[in-house]
């Protein structure tokens, strides 16, 4: 709708609008990205520069020292291994179960389809903290505390709605918004 308003009106106003639009866009992108650039800058400066006041805008003597430190740290290495294993396994399991569930929902007819979809979607609204204590006790009873399995299982449940939802929507033959349009 905004593009249509600029087609009419004087050419000068069109240019002004375009300038304002790009100023807005640049501001928005800068606000989004600046903190990350700043943290990156903090990660490659020396300790003295880090604590300098007023802070430097551009790194004076870039160094990769901090990165050397973390990759040499066994705690960080273990964390990296843990994260890689957990995220890979969770992704594979989630895609597998999510896609077969999504297929059934998008392509097959069955009575409790609505209920199943509501249950799966309800998980994305679920306050995970509400079940930490019972879940801890459940996992303790089956000896899963401090294992990858317990984290992967929990992660899988809370990650399931996303692949299921995306897949059943993309494989549908009709647009879900059709009913909200005026006829």
């Amino acid at each position: 709708m905004a593009s249509a308003t600029t087609t009419k009106g004087a050419a000068g106003r069109g240019t002004l609008n375009a300038v304002l639009f790009y100023v807005f866009l640049v501001t928005f992108v800068l606000v989004s990205v600046f903190p990350l650039l700043w943290i990156f800058k903090m990660s490659i400066v020396t300790k003295t520069e880090l604590f300098a006041s007023p802070p430097t805008i551009l790194p004076q003597t870039p160094t990769s020292e901090s990165y050397g430190t973390i990759f040499g740290d066994p705690v960080f290495q273990q964390a990296l291994v843990n994260s890689t294993i957990i995220s890979t396994v969770t992704t594979v399991i989630c895609l597998f179960f999510g896609s077969i569930t999504a297929y059934a929902i998008a392509r097959l007819r069955f009575r409790f389809k609505g209920t199943v979809m509501t249950l799966i979607l309800a998980i994305s609204f679920f306050p995970a903290v509400a079940i930490i204590a019972p879940l801890f006790i459940q996992f303790a009873q089956v000896g899963l505390i401090d294992t990858y399995a317990s984290v992967i299982i929990t992660d899988t449940v809370f990650a399931l709605p996303l692949p299921s939802g995306c897949l059943w929507r993309s494989s549908e033959s009709y647009p879900s918004t059709s009913r909200t349009r005026p006829r």
């Binding site: 006041s53 297929y103 069955f110 009575r111 979607l121 679920f126 903290v129």
Partner: protein, 307 residues
């Protein structure tokens, strides 16, 4: 709504045979079974278990005896819980409102063809794609009084007179701003997706009829965007309501939210296990009521209706 549509069908024993006698339907049940099973075991069963635990004097290592609502009365007398509830409600209302209005503005602005559109979309997703814990650590560094750029700039401009991290009010404002920074792009993209389903002819027709931009916005855009708005706002509200990592990490365990209260109660100081569990049940119930409000009162659709 899906739940209602299932119950309007005719009841009786016949449906069971019909559902499981039909090979296609049977296959469908086999296909959804694994997902349902894990959801029930890991999410819904623990909720019931949690409700039972909250009515007993159990600890993390042993099941106790029934004590009625004592945990709940303890909970509501605990000032830490009150503070957590207050912070969480303020955080949820303010951050969701800001995210919605700014997000709607952005969505309306970028809902057109322009040069560099792909780049803008990628850039706005950067904060959202960042893990919240990392974002929290990152912003804490920027709020910090020795190396923090935000602290430095805000103090130089005279906006603040004390270190951000030592004032709970400033910290809460900081947490809200970080959430707005992180999630507004996501809200904008959800609303943008909704905007793009509105056919251009509707606006053409309105313009032919002489509607000005305000009429077009309030009579066409908003009503047709209602579905997308409700989804985005409900999703954000419940996400904000269960906020944990931002408070825990950015607040360095000093700023209480409902979720940090539960975690502290059941895991850190296990003396608070009972009230912690009661708070967990409280969060679940209130989150459920919020969702119900959106679905029943505001008429949100939870899923695609049956054919």
């Amino acid at each position: 709504m899906s739940v209602a549509s299932a119950s309007t069908e005719k009841k009786g024993r016949g449906w069971f045979k019909e559902e499981f006698g039909n090979p296609e339907r049977r296959t469908a049940y086999y296909m959804v079974l694994p997902s349902l099973l894990i959801i029930v075991l890991v999410a819904f069963f623990p909720i019931l278990y949690g409700i039972v635990l909250s009515l007993t004097d159990s600890t993390i290592s042993g099941f106790g005896s029934f004590i009625g609502l004592e945990n709940y009365t303890d909970l509501f007398q605990d000032s830490d819980f009150g503070e957590g509830l207050y912070n969480t409600v303020i955080f949820t209302v303010v951050s969701v409102a800001l995210e919605f209005f700014i997000g709607l503005g952005i969505a309306l602005a970028i809902n057109r063809a322009f040069r560099g559109r792909g780049l803008v979309r990628a850039a706005v997703l950067v904060p959202w794609a960042f893990p919240t814990v990392i974002a929290a650590v990152m912003w804490r560094l920027m709020f910090q009084s020795q190396v923090g750029i935000v602290q430095y700039v805000a103090a130089s401009l005279g906006i603040i007179s004390e270190p951000i991290l030592s004032s709970r009010t400033l910290l809460l404002i900081g947490v809200i701003l970080v959430d707005v920074w992180k999630t507004t792009p996501f809200v904008a993209l959800l609303l943008l997706a909704g905007l793009q389903t509105i056919p251009g002819e509707v606006y053409e027709a309105a313009r032919v009829d002489g509607a000005n931009w305000m009429q077009r916005f309030f009579r066409i855009t908003l009503p047709l965007l209602k579905g997308a708005i409700l989804v985005a706002v409900l999703f954000r509200t419940l996400d904000a309501y269960r906020v944990y990592d931002l408070f825990w990490v950015l607040g360095n365990r000093e700023l209480q939210s409902l979720s940090t209260y539960v975690y502290e109660g059941v895991r850190i100081s296990q003396l608070q296990f009972g009230p912690g569990n009661a708070a967990a049940v409280f969060i679940f119930m209130t989150a459920f009521l919020i969702a119900l409000f959106f679905i029943r009162v505001l008429g949100m659709r939870t899923s695609v209706e049956e054919e």
